[in-house]
């Protein structure tokens, strides 16, 4: 969705809300991380027995949608449609039994990708007999707003 589309959607939401109604804006909170300033969508772990073994990150190719959404929310606040009550982040855990299932998931997230060294580490872990799969931990952002 374009920035203008998001602004329009927020106006539509304002219209269908009751006076004083609540809006939750829930979405991935992508972040820049590490010395390479990589765009990180999620941290990946191999699951072996009860252990969660860190193997790398899912990288994000573009922040454009997130920046557009942030701008649209700021504009709705500036225009007096809503007040911002709270902002928080929390972990969202997504489990995949196989690497192929993680790849299927990546197919639905068009700008996310897995770098070759991370893929090789995952493949090595998945070859082990006691592997229970892959855990992807994303950080989600929740903005809570109220209609003015």
């Amino acid at each position: 969705m374009t920035h203008e589309g998001m602004v329009h959607a927020l106006k539509e939401i304002h219209r269908v809300l009751t006076p004083g109604g609540w809006l939750a804006d829930l979405r991935p909170n992508r972040r820049l991380e590490g010395r390479r300033r990589r765009d990180v969508l999620a941290t990946l772990f191999g699951l072996r027995g009860r252990r969660e073994i860190p193997v790398g990150v899912l990288e994000e190719g573009s922040f454009a949608d997130d920046e557009a959404a942030d701008r649209a929310v700021r504009r709705a606040l500036r225009e007096g449609l809503f007040t911002l009550l709270s902002t928080e982040t929390f972990p969202f855990r997504f489990y995949f039994r196989t690497l192929a299932l993680l790849d299927d998931h990546l197919g639905t997230r068009s700008t996310a990708f897995l770098e070759a060294p991370t893929r090789r580490r995952l493949e090595a872990l998945m070859r082990g007999g006691s592997s229970r799969g892959i855990l992807s931990v994303e950080t989600l952002l929740l903005n809570v707003l109220r209609k003015v």
Partner: protein, 99 residues
């Protein structure tokens, strides 16, 4: 999807319940996808309407809806940019990964 589990710890709904007056409310969820979060919201809300532009996802959401929730949950194809509801129809709107 078989072999995948999204948020089995139910962190997302627990955070929403802490921040929003969902109990007994009429809720609109925009970007409901296959209805994973919608079904969890329906456990506490009076009613939930889930909309998503992906018709295949909405068909799956309808198929996965337990019979016990059928009277309180509706799924429709749609987007946040054109909401087919009257003014002041919902006390709570949730944009799920859709802004």
């Amino acid at each position: 999807m078989r072999g995948t589990r999204k948020d089995p710890e139910r962190t997302e709904i627990r955070v929403l319940l802490r921040r929003l007056p969902l109990a007994g409310a009429g809720v609109l969820e925009i970007g409901c996808g296959e209805g994973r979060l919608t079904r969890r919201i329906a456990g506490v809300a009076r009613s939930v309407v889930g909309i998503d532009p992906d018709a295949a996802a909405i068909a799956t959401a309808r198929r996965l809806l337990p019979r016990r929730l059928a009277g309180r949950v509706r799924f429709d194809v749609g987007t946040g940019q054109r909401l087919p509801f009257g003014g002041g129809a919902f006390p709570v709107v949730i944009c799920s990964w859709s802004l």
